[in-house]
Symmetry: C2
Subunit: 211 residues, 2 copies
């Protein structure tokens, strides 16, 4: 009613849900999941603190949405690095290169987007199960799918005997995920850049040899 100062934004925001998730993503980028604070998020969206409850049951619900977006970012970077992988004439070499790109992208994301990486894996409970359809990249595949596809390629190219294929995701995923968390949250936090690079090399080499 008050035709007051400078186009006062309407009572109804219109895109509040997306705006909240965006704000959450922003906060998570620098502060990790703990920075996704209801009141900070609503403040950033220029809205009162309780408005969020019209779109999310509670903070966890909002956080879940933010987590999914973070996972999406990870998937996107992985797709990008796969696409950039050096071409090889030999299909085996090509498959190895692409799997290496997957692993490097994973650790790269963790170390360059620490907050987002932490958030991607800080999904609150009540997440009943592992839903590969969530947190996907432009290609519609999640990080797990991309890794899986890389391993399948290696089997198809004859680099890995098919009978050893089952469960190999666990080996590769654990290695890069473990290195990532040790580097950003764990005791390897303080490792200087040069040793980080060495650690990454050792881990990736050892994974390849072990598959």
């Amino acid at each position: 009613m008050p035709a007051d100062s400078a186009a006062a934004r309407p009572y109804h925001h219109g895109q509040l849900r997306d705006a909240l998730v965006d704000a959450g993503l922003q906060l998570a980028r620098t502060g990790g999941p703990d920075a996704v604070v209801l009141r900070a998020v609503t403040r950033a969206a220029g809205v009162s603190h309780n408005a969020a409850y019209r779109h999310f049951a509670d903070r966890d619900s909002l956080l879940r949405a933010v987590c999914e977006r973070c996972m999406s970012r990870l998937a996107t970077l992985m797709e990008q690095r796969i696409a950039e992988a050096e071409p090889h004439a030999d299909p085996q070499d090509a498959a190895w290169a692409r799997l290496g790109a997957v692993g490097r992208a994973y650790v790269e994301f963790a170390t360059t987007e620490v907050g987002w990486f932490r958030t991607a894996f800080a999904v609150p409970d009540a997440a009943e199960a592992f839903h590969p359809t969530e947190g996907v990249g432009p290609g519609g595949l999640g990080p797990y799918d991309l890794l899986s596809a890389g391993l399948d390629e290696l089997v198809a190219a004859g680099a890995i005997p098919a009978e050893r294929r089952p469960g190999l995701e666990y080996a590769a995923w654990s290695a890069v995920h473990g290195l990532s968390t040790l580097l950003i949250d764990g005791p390897l936090r303080a490792l200087p850049a040069a040793e980080r690079e060495q650690a990454l090399t050792v881990v990736l080499d050892s994974v390849s040899r072990g598959l």
Copy 2:
């Protein structure tokens, strides 16, 4: 002054610092690091909420003490499982068995003492560096030292060429740590027990092969 009901405990607790850490450990066991709440801890110790500030600068400081104890527990279990490792006449076999015990103990601790494991690695910042002297077991060695020793044994036994030794801790540690976190906090949370066992086997096998 009131010689009142049932030996009212003295104004001065006497062992408050330890009591607080013990209480924190208790809370962390079921609730992880987030459950180490100043007021809950002091309540458990039967003391007013601000008493903790006479022994710890802030909550993070208390949490750090609890984290160290959790790391100690991990080291203790690892030592125990190493000692129980199946004996082998061949020194190489023995060394492999012991390294496997290290890895299994790590994941065992993570999955059976989830809260403690999470707490062990949730040490707040201002942890200036990696201090291998903290969080040790009865033998005076930390988890990292135990892993390191296992790898050294393998080199000494001739199972691993010495020139590949540098950095191998990263490979082994990352694998078991990654599997642990994926299983308890990550997308593998909902994995049924049977598949968990398979995952562990695959990871350990692949690490051994890759070293």
